[in-house]
Amino acid sequence: MLDWLNIARNQAEERFRSLPFPSGKDENFRFTALEYRAGENGENSNITKASDLPPEISAVDGDESALLLLNGEDAVCSGTASGILFTDLMRSATLGSESIRPRLKDAELFKDDKFAQLSTARWKNGAFVHVPAGVRQAKPIRFVANAQASEEHFRHLIVLEEGAEAVVIQESWSDGAERFVGELTEVRLGKNSRLHWVVLQQLGANTSAVIRQRLDLGEGSELHFTPLHVGGKTVQTRQETHLGKGSFLDTQGAARGDGLQHFDFWLDVKHEGSKSRSDMDYWYVMAGKSRGVFNAQVEVKKDAADCESSQRSKTLLLGQGSVHSIPKLIIKTDAVKAAHGASVSSVNFEQLHYLQSRGIPRLEAEKMITRGFTEVVVDRFPHAGLQARAEVLLEAKRGGEL
């Protein structure tokens, strides 16, 4: 084991133990109760082979260039991603990649966050994507984090150097057993680089997950972010974004819940450079007794002139689903265009009647209305195979809701 990494882990473990568990009195946990029970953390895993995963997940799609499967500590990479480094994080740390060490030693990363410290201390493996300056990866690369133990932590690092371009698909998967998953991802974009980052979260029904994401967008860079959450029991995603001069964060994200599922997007966007832009749409479809939380704050720093920001949450409630939407703006400069909004609607007879009056059968009309809320996101998925898989996951949640 690497000494420097052990030291970093031990420090994080100490911070985890010293920080209190968040309670309902904490602003960012008012609507989300995270339960944590220490588990076996990667020991005694039942699934060790890639072939144990569903075949559509464990094989490289024809429209992809490479796939990395993370089964706990084990990692299997197939396909080739020419010009870029695409491997598991532990292997890269062991080989001493220059760009990794400072990142894994960064004690400042979510230092106030108990769960982020837990993942920092206990991660077993993760994905490492490094795209050198000027390299453009045309075909998407994909990694799958397969949680196998009752407690499992992953750490991922995606780095694009100046002028680089890539499409990265990240999937989270677990079976139906009770699990706690921690996931800490860092995305660092160099000057004028461009990343399309797609997240498909399809954790098992009894998995609780704490996802932490730190995004640093360098000057003129673009991040097109497309997350779709369909799985898990209670899933909280905290995303902290730092926008440099002229950079652009473009998000179209969706959560599709049923039963007692709970999805919490806790977003913190910091416009630090002038002329930076952020445009975020989050779509929620909450059926059964599922709950959604949109807790989004945009802060425009004093020196960040001529920024533009827009954040919106749109919710479709089915059954007894609910959503808490809390968009916030903190503007510390004058020349800014900023907007935020939240809408909540439910499928009603008038909408169904309208579609039916145009010849569309009732069942199809119901599907159209619910599908409409996630289609914007699925349409952005970079290849047909992934779109089809997402549709299957969404389709499995439809029916009998109205």
Binding site: Q356, R358, E364, G372
Partner: protein, 265 residues
């Protein structure tokens, strides 16, 4: 020569909405190719009639029947009625966030004109009709009726009417919310959808649309019944005199049993 089968026949129709009887024995016969206008004060039951024809689940038929080509529509869901080529242009079309105009139009066309229009030609068909109504391409990616102005909603309703090619068109105050130029364009578009086998039931408050879409018959609604029927001249008379003269006891030609004053077949 046999007797012409009416395209739409309404027989002694009584309809209840939220436990209140709104239509109280309406009789109306519309033959192929005819344009009928229904005029009347707010709350007289005009819109209820349109929803009853389309089969809105909130509108419960208490008595009577609605027949299309001699077959009863009662018991058929709205989508089946649409596939039998009845079209209702709504007075207040609902917004459906998340469903784009393009997705909606495609599904509607493929449902109503199944076997008649090939999937590969749908996009071209929509584009052609949009051009005729001067509707910009940006409509296609917008969510259905969300954030639309009154005029935009009516133009979208008219676009649907053109695309779905109904036989029986029910237009519920399609003229409201339109400026003069839009009214002219929409009216011309509706007028051009007329045909020897297609009929229009036009519900309106005002004469102005009837200047473009010439009615063969005009009916006046009062308290859930047709109280007077006549030719196109009746609309002008109503414009001039209002409705008060038709109210209880003020006219001799009021129809006591609710039947249309003009025998239409």
């Amino acid at each position: 020569m046999g007797k012409i089968l009416p395209l739409l026949e309404i027989r002694d129709l009584s309809v209840e909405v939220e436990n209140k009887e709104v239509l109280k024995g309406v009789n109306l016969v519309i033959n192929p190719g005819e344009v009928h206008a229904i005029m009347g004060k707010n709350g007289s039951g005009k819109t209820t009639l349109s929803h009853a024809i389309m089969g809105h689940p909130k509108y419960k038929v208490l008595r009577g029947d609605i027949l299309l080509n001699g077959e009863s529509l009662l018991g058929l869901p709205p989508d089946e009625r649409a596939r039998r080529r009845i079209f209702l242009a709504f007075q207040y079309p609902v917004a459906i966030p998340g469903v784009t105009v393009a997705q909606f139009l495609r599904s509607a066309i493929m449902s109503v004109r199944k076997g008649e229009v090939e999937a590969k030609n749908v996009r071209k068909l929509i584009k052609e009709e949009m051009l005729k109504l001067d509707i910009p391409d940006s409509f296609m990616t917008r969510f259905l009726n969300e954030g639309f102005s009154g005029g935009e909603k009516k133009r979208l309703e008219t676009l649907q009417l053109r695309l779905l090619q109904p036989k029986m068109m029910v237009l519920d105050e399609t003229d409201s919310g339109l400026d003069i130029d839009s009214l002219k364009r929409v009216s011309e578009s509706i007028e051009s959808a007329r045909g020897t086998d297609k009929s229009i039931l036009l519900i309106t408050h005002y004469q102005r649309m009837l200047s473009y879409v010439k009615p063969d018959f005009v009916h006046v609604f009062l308290e859930g019944k047709i109280v007077k029927s006549g030719g196109a001249g009746l609309a002008l008379e109503l414009e001039e005199r209002g409705y008060e003269w038709l109210e209880s006891g003020k006219t001799e030609d009021k129809i006591a049993d609710g039947k249309a004053a003009v025998t239409l077949n």
